[in-house]
Amino acid sequence: MDQLYTRILADTDFQRLQRRRERLCLWLSLAVFSAFLGFILLIAYAPGALATPLAPGMVTTRGVPLGSSVILFGFALTGLFVWRSNREFDIEMARILARHAAQD
């Protein structure tokens, strides 16, 4: 197993694939983290911005759609990640692993 691991690690296709996967994970993590952090900081520093009604005469404030969109945004990102992993990363990884298995 150790030899196989070493060979895979040295495979440039593997390295390229991992760079793409890891970049996606990093950006998605930063995106969801910033959205959440932004919401928390708005509550701490500018609660008034969230308390403004959507339109004059309405009682629904900006905070309601904004909070709900943070929830939907987080869900959309998990969907994007799963979609790309299933459609792209898994298939390429399987191809790389099959090639190394064939060499054994």
Binding site: M1, D2, L4, Y5, T6, I8, L9, Q18, R21, C25, L28, S29, V32, F33, A35, F36, L37, F39, I40, L41, I43, A44, Y45, P47, L50, A51, P53, M58, V59, T60, T61, G63, V64, G67, S68, V70, I71, L72, G74, F75, L77, T78, G79, F81, V82, S85, N86, D90, M93, L97
Partner: protein
């Protein structure tokens, strides 16, 4: 600080998970209510079904892999529903609805915070965790580190999180069931403890998972019906719902705005860290990633869980504001002081009576009871695996124990944890248990989560660094809670707290990471060198799944 706002603060930390404080505080002197026959009947049906599941699961549980990980037989979708079930606790359903009922918009913050951890768990941990571990998250943290010290640390932090949670749950359960069913407090605690021990000892992970799935489906069904009925009252217009709420609530239009739940930016950040990272560090949730056959299924299960949890929290917003609009103005649900009968946590229950009548009220009450039962079962199994798999099999017997022995120890541990939970649950009757949940979340966020991320992503992490840093994080979290306002002022009634912040997570997290990194970097031992060189093999296995447990059966 008024008692309402301090209560809101404390609730903050537990809403995404079990009932603890949310329900514990409603306690106080609870007037006995008459036996609720439809609710008890429906609950007994649930118990009969779950005992059937347990008997079926017991026949299928032969090996340790069956016992701890359902033999990898759970599909991604099923696991997603079970994970969502772990998270959709009585504290979310009753506690957050009650929080919106009393505070309005602020309740939405817990919904957003409760969801934010899941994408992070998916992007950073779920697949690598599945590929490296077998039964507990300690498997992954300790993959290339020294088993003895690492597993001891991970098991300690797991047991701290689990037992604090269990006690909080028990106190919540006793109070809630007293209110909903008219059973005596001790009777409720003993019933919950007894049933959970039955599920866990005989049915292991298979029973625990299917009980959780059954309850999650019932809870989603019940809250969807409630949500639709509420929206129907307002012609499916959110503006009309909110308008009615503003007209009834004593806060008026302010009910639609943030109401100062977090007073300063540092508290806001620390609360944010507890919610976001705590979710990704709860041992009973991390344990679920080992019940699916591979990393792809693990990934899919987080997607399903995130969808269900997001949907659930959006529903809770409707239920909370619906309770203000439809229950708030009615004298038959209020005490003479204008408070909700049974406390704010009863908002969802009263609402179900208003929109759907007595029979549905019984159904919702039975589901609330089932929710507590399913969540404590997961907690108990997680604690039992830390004792049997991490401490007994790997540390004490150094992997020389037979499968039967380890499962036997697990069962004994489950019974012991159940007894402990019942005894402490009764001992803490009517007490404020907020600090327990605060601490549980802080430990999950400040110790489990960072050590897992460092172990998976940083070659330089050494055993010495992880053990010293993890211990520092653990002690910091405990110290911050004990010397903070929750224990020092609210519980011990001192005038002011030496540590001014209510949320310890951020401080303990920074302490844990800083010490872990510094100690690891200065660790020049031979073992540290070996651990760094073992990173490559760990990395390839984590990202490819080659050699992962369960993979060979495909």
């Amino acid at each position: 600080m008024s008692s309402r706002s301090s209560r809101g603060l404390a609730l903050a930390c537990l809403c995404p998970t079990p009932a603890a404080f949310a329900l514990g505080e409603a306690a106080g002197p609870v007037a006995r209510v008459p036996l609720n026959v439809p609710a008890i009947t429906m609950f007994l049906v649930f118990v009969a079904v779950t005992l059937g599941i347990t008997a079926w699961a017991a026949r299928r549980t032969r090996t340790t892999a069956d016992y701890y990980a359902a033999g990898g037989s759970i599909t991604g979708t099923q696991n997603g529903v079970a994970i969502a079930g772990d998270f959709m606790s009585a504290a979310s359903f009753l506690g957050v609805t009650g929080l919106i009922y009393s505070g309005g918009f602020d309740g939405l913050i817990w919904g957003v915070g409760g969801l934010a951890g899941w994408p992070l768990l998916l992007f950073l941990l779920s697949e690598r965790l599945r590929n490296l571990g077998r039964y507990t998250f300690a498997d992954a943290v300790g993959f290339r580190l020294a088993a003895g010290p690492m597993r001891t640390l991970a098991a300690c932090s797991t047991l701290i999180v689990i037992s604090l949670y269990l006690v909080g749950q028990m106190v919540g359960a006793g109070t809630l069931i007293q209110l909903l069913f008219g059973l005596p407090y001790w009777g409720a605690v003993v019933t919950v403890g007894g049933l959970m021990v039955l599920y866990v000892t005989f049915g292991g992970m298979i029973a625990t998972t299917w009980v959780q799935i059954t309850k999650a489906v019932l809870l989603l069904f019940g809250s969807t019906v409630l949500g639709l009925l509420v929206m129907n009252e307002f012609g499916f217009s959110f503006e009309r719902l909110f308008k009615a709420a503003v007209a009834v609530h004593p806060k008026g239009p302010a009910v639609m705005a943030p109401g100062g739940i977090v007073s300063d930016p540092l508290s806001a950040l620390s609360l944010g860290a507890a919610l976001m990272f705590g979710t990704a560090g709860l041992p009973h949730i991390l344990m679920r990633f080992f019940t699916v056959p591979d990393a792809r299924a693990a990934r899919h299960s987080v997607f399903v869980a995130t969808a269900l949890i997001g949907y659930f929290y959006l529903l809770i917003v409707v239920l909370g504001f619906g309770a203000i609009a439809l229950v708030g103005g009615r004298p038959e649900f209020l005490t003479t002081a204008g408070k909700l009968i049974g406390g704010d946590n009863m908002a969802a229950i009263h609402l179900s009576k208003v929109v759907a009548g007595d029979l549905f009220l019984g159904f919702v009450s039975a589901v609330a009871f089932a929710t507590i039962l399913a969540v404590v079962s997961g907690l108990t199994l997680s604690g039992a695996s830390a004792i049997a798999h991490d401490l007994y099999a790997n540390v004490w017997r150094r992997e020389r124990a037979t499968e039967q022995e380890v499962v036997g120890i697990s069962r004994v541990a489950a019974v012991a944890l159940g007894l402990l939970a019942v005894v402490l649950g009764i001992a803490f009757e009517g007490q404020n248990v907020a600090y327990m949940v605060l601490l549980a979340f802080a430990v999950a966020a400040a110790v489990n989560f960072p050590l897992l991320v460092l172990a998976l992503y940083w070659r330089g992490l050494t055993t010495r660094g992880a053990v010293v840093g993890g211990t520092v994080g653990l002690l910091t979290a405990i110290a911050c809670v004990v010397f903070g306002p929750t224990v020092w002022v609210d519980l011990l009634h001192h005038a002011s707290a030496p540590f001014p912040y209510r949320y310890p997570a951020l401080f303990a997290l920074v302490a844990c990471v800083t010490v872990t990194v510094l100690v690891s970097l200065t660790d020049r031992s031979e073992r540290a060198r070996r651990e760094a060189s073992a990173y490559d093999a760990q990395y390839v296995r984590a990202v490819t799944g080659l050699g992962a447990s369960g993979a060979s059966e495909h």
